[in-house]
Symmetry: none
Subunit: 204 residues, 2 copies
Amino acid sequence: MKEITSQQQRVLDCIQIYLKKTGFPPTRADICRELGFKSPNSAETHLRALEKKGFISIESGASRGISVNNQNNSFGGDEYPVIGLVAAGSPTLAEENIERTINCPKSFFESGFDYFLKVRGLSMKDAGIMEDDLIAVKKTTDVKNGDIVIARLDDEVTVKFFNRKSSNIVELEPANEDFENIVINLESEQLHIEGKSVGLLRRN
Amino acid sequence: MKEITSQQQRVLDCIQIYLKKTGFPPTRADICRELGFKSPNSAETHLRALEKKGFISIESGASRGISVNNQNNSFGGDEYPVIGLVAAGSPTLAEENIERTINCPKSFFESGFDYFLKVRGLSMKDAGIMEDDLIAVKKTTDVKNGDIVIARLDDEVTVKFFNRKSSNIVELEPANEDFENIVINLESEQLHIEGKSVGLLRRN
DNA sequence: AAAAATACTGAATGTATGTACAGTATAATA
DNA sequence: TATTATACTGTACATACATTCAGTATTTTT
């Protein structure tokens, strides 16, 4: 890929901004309007130069037939951290807890989400959540009974069903008969809701 | 957002696949070519319906002026079909079996995969596979004992553990004590392995 | 010093494309 | 039962657009 000139960079930026704004590429006239050129041929020659240098491809004859040659498609998709073992006392999203990141579209899980949590143990197995599964977590404290929540109790992070019994009593319920409910009295114990599960990802 | 019809869904999918492939939206004629319509007005009316229902926006007068209204501009990934109910006797990937598509990166599941299969029933619940989960399926006949396979028996598609007992006997084992093993004698019965599970996606 | 690339204006042209109009037919809705 | 939405074919046409040709001027490369 050869060197790009500053004017060609302007044209390339213009194309990408236009694409993001409208969802389709600009015409020669559009580029002229955006960049103040007075002849469509100004855009044309820049496009041909960009094509020659490999930055874009042009479908001959097709209107708006410009596509940007972005091999590293960091557009749209985002990098989401995978949280593994959470060190006691450290904030969940602290860097040392991030095992790696996964690139996936923003709204891959319907309500949007913030990170993946790697599941340890089988306390939620009857809800189809197995060891090493990745739970898509949306950071929120707005949880309803029956939601699968990511909760923090004494620096211990746990995944359970949420069940508010009364204004002061919350039960965290596993989905595995070998485990017992955790009953929390909010007056005497700290319960911090990190978020709730909005999806699950498993890779064999 | 109102209900979408199956034909309108086909058109919407066509637009997104075209976008992914070329980088710009299709013309009416392109859509006709892809879907077998013979009049550009067929595409036009579908586009207007999709616009009315809010799935797309159309820039009046602009060629290829279609933009898809899903908030996530998930460029870079691929569109993977979601296979729901498989009609008896029809090939799994036949168009009428495609419920919709999901955009996700190619290498989202490590060994690559070909489509998502929507799970019916709870026969694999102890393996953490619940109803309506989406199994990432890689088309292959190269399966080992213990693999979770997608198998076809008498036009019925099923997901089970694979276990070859001998050269002629294969057992398909559920992960749910309420279900029983399926024993197949390859000499007298047809067993077609569609592929194997390489991952799982669940959306709450 | 000549050639090639860059950076434009301006006009012209063929065609790619959106879009309206005229039909036909079936299913869903009021 | 009338009406609207869906699902098409087919023709036609104005215009949106790509693209070529003709210039001018500056900078970079050979």
